[in-house]
Amino acid sequence: MIRRIDFVLFGCLILCAIAVVNTQHRARRVFVDLEREKTMGDELAADLRRLQAERATLAAANRVERVAIDMKMHLPDARNVIVMGNQSQDVANASAVSSSVAMNAPVGGAPQSSPAVTKPTAHSGTSAKTKQAVQLAKRGNR
């Protein structure tokens, strides 16, 4: 004899089975999404590396110097350098020295400060050394 409760349980069983199938299907879809996001993450990480390498190449000292020379900047010669007094050792790492002894500031927003370059002065004019530096800078950037 089939009781009413059996029908109810049977109905539950069917519902559960369908729910399992449905959940499994959704789990897979979500997993596929997760994989896609992971792949995208990997691609972005690769992009980051590529951009870092690119930035390092663009900010390499030889290129910065070449650009500086193209902009008609050059190293200050000895007569244009004022050496600061000897106050205390190892103090003026950035402030005093960079303003007077060396133009240590980055050129053109480059993150690494590279060999000093300043605007042309009264004594300016492209020296033989500067020309040589241009050649070297070009060579180095091949």
């Binding site: 897979r28 390498a53 390499a60 000895a78 600061m84 000897n86 050792q89 240590n104 690494q112």
Partner: protein, 576 residues
């Protein structure tokens, strides 16, 4: 309807027929159950395997090789995703148009590609390694059947040739082959991971089954190098090589307080990003792998040994007479007659006769000890492949003439790295520092070789070398006290000294508290000038002044007007 009349229904069947059918059906059922048991139980592993093969895959997870960075965190070597293009000889088909397109993209001749694809044994052939991803995408877009891509990495060196020798390079599998890449392979190298997944019909992963191995990316290595100083060193070395039409050269910059290598440049060099046509000459890291007779740069050690043995003081008078000295059949020459010189002047004017006289007052053992203590004859172990140890012969076999020539750096061979390290003794109060390529964070302890007093006495003498009466006024740096020593050595050619030279200069600044130690070596300058004071000292000066500016070192001699150096032609000549 009357069925009773149907005679077929009236037929009496024999009993065994029903039993037969029953047994037959039961038998079939048993066979079915047996088969099921066989498939599910006995044979299940094989079937499971076959099933897995159809949808489960082990995919590898690539691990990046670690980055190499300079001491300021600037990337020097970085791995980028790249692709190896390979072809299946059986399946590859391309028309001439596609071949030409492929050749252009891969930057290789078309007949080279068709030769590789059509000739040779086996099905699998690589066409090109380490193709950048953008190019690989374009190659894939041509849709050539039988052409496949395999993911991998390509090492990129943003600083190009200026760091080439220091960093070395990696092979197609991203394993270090030379330089720091080889030395720190164990740290840099990553371990690829693997995981088992289930893929659907479209090939996308739908379920993770198990993680077989976690990918382990390589760790970054922070070198002691400062890429700004490295660039200066590279630039000044190139300028000097060009100016003097020299064959080769090397420059090394150390922090004498820690033994850290801040820069190491060589000429000739190569571009590590394009190594197709690189010769062995270009690959050679001369600063560490080549040894040469250092010449006068060794005199300070002879003097230091004599000072330690209390044979002399800096003011002791040494007779150099007319600039020649006979030892048995051999004659030692100075380039200029010196007369009576103090020990300080022997260094300042680099008198061979003076150095030889001082050496002959010493025991061979005392000289050998100081040479060995500062590291000559032993590999510096700074951590680069191919470091040379040079040669110091055992003192028991020294003849007097050999002891005399060794006092001014002949009959002994050293590398530039060894020479640079040895001078840390004078820059560091008598302690020699171990060389290292890695950035040091804690204090580094050196090894005491000579007393602090001797070190400071020799340092004072080395400061005289760059004065106008010395051999290297061109080594002066405006605003700083500089100490250093020139060297000019004849090169050996088939066992005889030739008229080819190695010019060198080793020095440090600021002399009051040395922050940088620079060693310069120029091999075979060929424009007439060959003295260390004329060829190598200007490189030192330019590099030192630039480097001190970059590091923001406080001048220790701001009042000096020492920029008024004599023109190069009138700079004091130097003995070999």
């Amino acid at each position: 309807m009357n069925y009773r009349g149907n005679s077929a229904l009236m037929l009496r069947l024999e009993g065994w027929r029903a039993s037969f059918i029953l047994v037959l059906l039961l038998g079939l059922f048993v066979a079915l159950v047996g088969r099921a048991v066989f498939l599910q139980g006995v044979h299940s592993d094989f079937l499971q395997h076959k099933g897995d093969e159809r949808y489960s895959r082990v995919i590898s997870q690539a691990a990046y090789r670690g980055e190499v960075k300079d001491r300021n965190g600037d990337p020097l070597a970085i791995s980028l995703p790249a692709v190896s293009v390979w072809a299946s000889r059986d399946d590859a088909e391309m028309n001439p148009g596609q071949l030409q397109q492929l050749a252009t993209l891969l930057n290789m001749p078309a007949d080279e590609i068709s030769r590789r694809v059509n000739e040779g044994r086996g099905n699998f052939v690589y066409l090109k390694h380490q193709v950048p991803q953008e190019v690989a995408q374009k190659v894939a877009d041509i849709h050539i059947p039988g052409l496949f891509e395999q993911k991998g990495f390509r090492r990129s060196y943003p600083k190009g040739e200026m760091m080439a020798h220091l960093l070395g390079y990696t092979d197609f599998d991203d394993r270090g082959q030379d330089g720091a890449e080889l030395t720190y392979q164990r740290v840099l190298g990553g371990m690829n991971g693997a995981r088992r997944v289930i893929k659907d019909r479209a090939g996308s992963v739908i379920e993770d089954v198990e993680n077989i191995r976690e990918p382990r990316p390589g760790q970054d290595v922070v070198l002691s190098v400062d890429s700004r100083l490295q660039y200066l060193a590279w630039r000044e070395l190139h300028a000097a090589i060009t100016k003097n039409k020299a064959k080769a050269g090397a420059v090394m910059v150390l922090d004498p307080r820690t033994g850290e290598v801040l820069a190491l440049a060589n000429y000739p060099d190569y571009n590590p990003n394009a190594r197709e046509h690189v010769s062995l000459m270009q690959l050679r890291n001369r600063a560490i792998a080549d040894t040469y007779e250092p010449g006068s740069t060794l005199k300070p050690f002879t003097i230091a040994a004599a000072l330690e043995a209390h044979k002399i003081t800096p003011a002791t008078i040494i007779q150099t007479g007319n600039g020649t000295m006979n030892i048995g059949p051999a004659v030692i020459h100075d380039t200029h007659p010196g007369g009576a010189l103090t020990v300080s002047q022997v260094i300042q004017r680099s008198s061979n006769v003076g150095a030889a006289r001082i050496a002959l007052g010493l025991s061979p053992e005392a000289m050998w000890n100081i040479f060995t203590d500062v590291g000559f004859g032993q590999t510096p172990k700074m951590g680069l492949p191919g470091e040379a140890g040079g040669r110091v012969r055992p003192y028991r076999n020294w003849r007097p003439i050999e002891q005399a020539t060794m006092s001014y750096g002949h009959g002994i061979s050293v590398s530039l790295a060894q020479l640079a390290r040895s001078y840390t003794v004078f820059a560091n109060d008598g302690n020699v520092m171990p060389l290292t390529l890695l950035k040091q964070t804690g204090p580094v302890s050196g090894r005491r070789v000579i007393s602090s007093r001797t070190a400071s006495e020799v340092k004072d003498m080395l400061e005289l070398v760059v004065k106008p009466e010395g051999t290297a006024p061109l080594a002066q740096v405006r605003g700083f006290r500089v100490a250093g020593k020139t060297g000019t050595a004849h090169k050996l050619d088939h066992g005889r000294y030739s008229n080819r030279y190695v010019a060198s200069f080793v020095g440090f600044a600021p002399a009051s508290n040395p922050r940088l130690l620079i060693a310069v070596m120029i091999d075979e300058p060929s424009t007439g000038d060959y003295y260390g004071g004329l060829v190598a000292a200007p490189v030192f000066s330019a590099l030192m002044s630039g480097a001190l500016q970059i590091l923001g070192v406080q001048p220790d001699d701001p009042a000096s007007e020492n920029y008024a150096v004599p023109a190069s032609g009138s700079a004091a000549a130097e003995e070999t």
